[in-house]
Each structure stands twice: as structure tokens, then as C-alpha cells.
């Protein structure tokens, strides 16, 4: 496969961050995820695509145990983060979520100031011993989220007063403030205009140098633009998982082909 951006897109196949084996998810009697095996690489953007209800968000939520909060939801199988079983009884989900951060579809800043939104996580995880350290963490996080220039003069104004795109970047700043190793993004751009979308995509590309990013998106073009690896889900199955350039030029599976070319919904 001759990928013109081969060098930029080259990924180290050995560096596996998350390894999932035979994952099943049930909502009551509904078998939502069927036997999914996947290795997610470090310092790579992995896109999950697929029609609504295919299980991509459900699977994403398994990766930081967000499904624990749903009573009728049952997860089976092994998910290892750096070789450790995240569903082990000894793993504290709160600690896990500090390592595996998440950004949601709709920007959901806390009804607090911009500063407090970002400082919240580092505070509860005791990452700063004094105000100066906390200031630095907040500034760094806002810079990483490309929001510092716009927000530095209004840090004590409510986060909810920002525009939609800024709010989403604030949520990303909040997620990166706890220095996660993996960042999960569930349709982070679906509520944003094209400019804000480009900014978030640019940010995702930068975050890739330090984190493993997993993004669920309905926009095939977005998956093609930002990711190095793409996974296609359909009816709870992981149908195809591979290099993004390959998936979008010559996928192996006919269902993938049908979906990305707009033939099945």
C-alpha cells in the first residue's frame, strides 16, 4: 500500500496501549458487543466508525469503565491497559478514568469558572501542592487545547459563557489536565462548526505525540483525516480494523466497503 503520508503515519506496531480480547457487552438481554478483539496502539489516533447502534460508543465506554454506571449493563472479556486488567476488582475506576480521559459529544463544562473547570481534576487527584503549581497545570492544559490565547484574560468567567467550539476545547483541556495516557472522544465535533472542528482535529493530531487517542465519529471524512488506524463496527461486531489509508482505499470486507461508500446505513 503506497500511502503518501507513510512516514508521518508510520506507527510502531509493537507499542500496544490497550488490548481487548473477546469483549462482550449486554444491556439486559440485548447482546450489544459481540466478541470484539482489538489492539489499540500507543501514540496513535484510532477511529471507530459504523452506523448508529453498531456498538462503537458502547465499546469506547468499556475502555474506561463508563458502562459501570449503567445498572443493566454487563461487560465480559479481557481489557488490558499496559498489560493490566482494567476490570480487576483492585482497580479503582476513578483512578482508571484519570489515566483514560474522556471527551463527550456535547461540550459539558462544569458550571464553574474556566480555571476551576480545568483545575478540578488535578485538585482531586492531588497533582498540585500549591497555587503556583496548579496555575501552571491549568495554563499547560489550556495551551494544549489551543484555548489559552482566547481564555487567559477571562479565566475566572464561567466556562459556560464560552462559544460551543471553545467549550469543547475547554472540555479537552479538562481531560488532558490530569495527564491521561489515553483520551477517548465520543463524537467530539458533532456539535461544532467547521472552523471549530478543524481546530479540534488539529488538536487531536498534536495530542497524538503524547497520547493514544480513540475517537468515535459519524463523519467518515473526519475519521480519514485524523486517524492512523480505523475500526469499523457493524451490528456489534468489529468487522474490520486496519490502517486508515487502506480502509478508505481498498477495504477487505464488503460491509466496510458498503458503509464507507454510502451504500448501507
Amino acid at each position: 500500500m503506497n500511502d503518501m503520508r507513510l512516514i508521518e503515519r508510520a506507527v510502531n506496531m509493537d507499542d500496544i496501549k490497550i488490548s481487548a480480547r473477546k469483549v462482550q457487552v449486554y444491556y439486559g438481554d440485548n447482546h450489544a458487543i459481540k466478541d470484539v478483539n482489538v489492539d489499540i496502539q500507543d501514540k496513535t489516533v484510532t477511529a471507530f466508525i459504523g452506523p448508529s447502534g453498531c456498538g462503537k460508543s458502547t465499546f469506547l465506554r468499556c475502555l474506561n469503565r463508563m458502562n459501570d454506571t449503567i445498572d443493566i449493563c454487563r461487560v465480559e472479556g479481557d481489557i488490558h491497559l499496559d498489560g493490566e486488567d482494567i476490570n480487576d476488582k483492585r482497580v479503582d475506576p476513578v483512578q482508571l478514568r484519570a489515566k483514560v480521559g474522556m471527551v463527550f459529544q456535547k461540550p459539558n463544562p462544569f458550571p464553574k469558572s474556566i480555571y476551576d473547570n480545568v483545575a478540578y481534576g488535578p485538585k482531586i487527584h492531588g497533582m498540585a501542592s500549591n497555587k503556583a503549581e496548579l496555575d501552571e497545570i491549568v495554563e499547560n492544559a489550556l495551551r494544549r487545547a489551543a484555548l489559552w490565547e482566547e481564555a487567559k484574560d477571562r479565566l475566572d468567567t464561567p466556562g459556560t459563557g464560552l462559544s460551543g467550539g471553545q467549550q469543547q476545547r475547554l472540555c479537552i483541556a479538562r481531560a488532558v489536565a490530569t495527564e491521561p495516557e489515553v483520551l477517548l472522544m465520543d463524537e467530539p465535533c458533532s456539535a461544532l462548526d467547521p472552523i471549530a472542528t478543524s481546530q479540534v482535529e488539529e488538536l487531536i493530531d498534536e495530542l497524538r505525540t503524547d497520547y493514544s487517542v480513540v475517537i468515535v465519529t459519524h463523519s467518515m471524512q473526519q475519521a480519514a483525516r485524523v486517524s492512523q488506524k480505523t475500526a469499523f463496527f457493524h451490528l456489534g461486531h468489529l468487522v474490520e480494523y486496519g490502517e486508515t489509508g487502506k480502509i478508505f482505499t481498498n477495504p477487505e470486507d464488503e460491509r466496510t466497503e458498503s458503509y464507507i461508500t454510502g451504500r448501507i446505513g
Partner: protein
């Protein structure tokens, strides 16, 4: 992929650009046959028709360029759809080149009509042109039917065209050595033979595009090649 898109307008766009390309192919097939016929029968009227007909071929290529650019911009095709769009663009470019060679055949008819007749090579030239036209027809059929086997067959057949060209090359050398007054006609006839041989190469490239459209990969370069004229000297 024979399933239809959810967006039927996308299907119509893809069908439209492919139809334009196939139509262009039909015109080019006719240009090859007419060009060869004009040359071998020294028919100046037919030659004029071929020269004028090339404008229609060029126009179609322009339209294909515009329509494919539009489809890429508006539909952002991926995978097999992208291959269709890219292949139409490349096939149209090859067809345009073949059309130019056919026009060149026609152009040389006038000069040849004034030269002393060399009748021997005419039959071979006609046969060679006919074979290239058949290869083109099969390539277009293979494209429409997404028939990789037929496309592979076309690729293999280019060797025969190369062999016909080699034989003609030797024949022209002989004629020229026999009598220097044959040189002008033979030079023109040689260019004609070379142009037909080049048409065959372009058709072969087109057949490779058909394989690419269907499989997503260009075929391996195992095609036999037989143009030996670079190693033939007049002394043999």
C-alpha cells in the same frame, strides 16, 4: 460493488462520467479503423474526416475532466468509488493520446498519396491497427463488465502487436536498402507503424486500469514485451 448508493444522485454522477468515457472510447475505436483505412487506401477524404473528428474526442476529454473534478469536490468518493473516478480520468487521458495518434495516421495519408506506392506493408499495417482496435474494444468491454480476465488477456495480446511492429520495421529497412526512392514513403509508414504500436501500449495501460478498478491493485509487471527494434541494425 453493484449495490446502489443511498444517495441516488451519486450513482447518477458516477454513471454519467463512465458513460462519457465509454462514448469517447467508441469514437477513438472508429478513429483507429478509419485512420488505418485512410492510410492503407490513400483515401484523403476519409483522412480529413478523421482529422476533424479528433476535436470531438478532445472535447469529450475536457468534459470528463470537469465532471470528475466536480464529482471529487462534491461527493468525496472513497474506496471503489474513488477508483472509478480516478480510472475514468486516466482512461480518458489515454484515449485522448490514442486519438492523437489516429489523427497523425490521417495526416500522413496526404504525403503518402504523393509518393510511389509501397504495397507490401499495407496489409500488415491494417491487421495491426485492427488488432489494436480490438484490444481497445475488449478493454472497454472489460471495464463495463468489470472483467479482470478479459483485461489480463488484452495485456498479453500487446506482445503480438509488438511482433507485428518488429516485422514491419525489418520490411521497411529492406525496402529502403533496395531503392533510396522508397525512403520518404517508408519513413512515413514507419512512423505510422510506430504510432500504432504506441496505441497498443496505451491500450495495455488502460487494461491495467481496469484491473485496478476491480481489484484495487495494479497488476504485477509480468507482461511480455517484444519490441526488439532497438537492437536491429541495417546490416543484417
Amino acid at each position: 460493488m453493484n449495490q446502489e448508493h443511498i444517495s441516488s444522485a451519486f450513482d447518477r454522477d458516477l454513471e454519467a462520467i463512465q458513460a462519457l468515457m465509454v462514448k469517447m472510447g467508441g469514437l477513438v475505436e472508429a478513429a483507429i479503423l478509419d485512420g488505418a483505412k485512410a492510410v492503407t487506401t490513400r483515401d484523403i477524404e476519409l483522412a480529413e474526416k478523421v482529422r476533424k473528428g479528433d476535436a470531438a474526442i478532445d472535447e469529450l476529454e475536457e468534459r470528463i475532466n470537469e465532471e470528475t473534478a466536480r464529482t471529487i469536490a462534491l461527493r468525496a468518493p472513497v474506496s471503489s468509488d474513488l477508483r472509478v473516478v480516478l480510472s475514468v480520468l486516466k482512461l480518458a487521458a489515454s484515449l485522448e493520446r490514442i486519438g492523437d495518434y489516429a489523427r497523425n495516421l490521417a495526416k500522413r495519408t496526404e504525403v503518402l498519396a504523393d509518393q510511389r506506392p509501397i504495397s507490401g506493408p499495407d496489409k500488415a499495417l491494417k491487421r495491426m491497427s485492427k488488432e489494436v482496435q480490438r484490444m481497445l474494444k475488449d478493454t472497454l468491454d472489460a471495464y463495463v463488465r468489470r472483467d479482470v480476465e478479459l483485461a489480463e488477456d488484452v495485456r498479453q495480446r500487446d506482445e503480438e502487436v509488438d511482433e507485428m511492429y518488429n516485422a514491419l520495421f525489418r520490411e521497411f529497412l529492406t525496402f529502403m536498402m533496395e531503392d533510396p526512392r522508397n525512403i520518404t514513403a517508408c519513413m512515413h509508414l514507419h512512423f505510422i507503424a510506430k504510432n500504432v504500436e504506441r496505441m497498443g501500449d496505451l491500450v495495455t495501460n488502460m487494461a491495467e486500469q481496469v484491473v485496478y478498478v476491480v481489484t484495487g491493485e495494479m497488476p504485477d509487471d509480468t507482461r511480455p514485451k517484444s519490441d526488439e527494434t532497438a537492437f536491429i541494425s541495417g546490416e543484417t
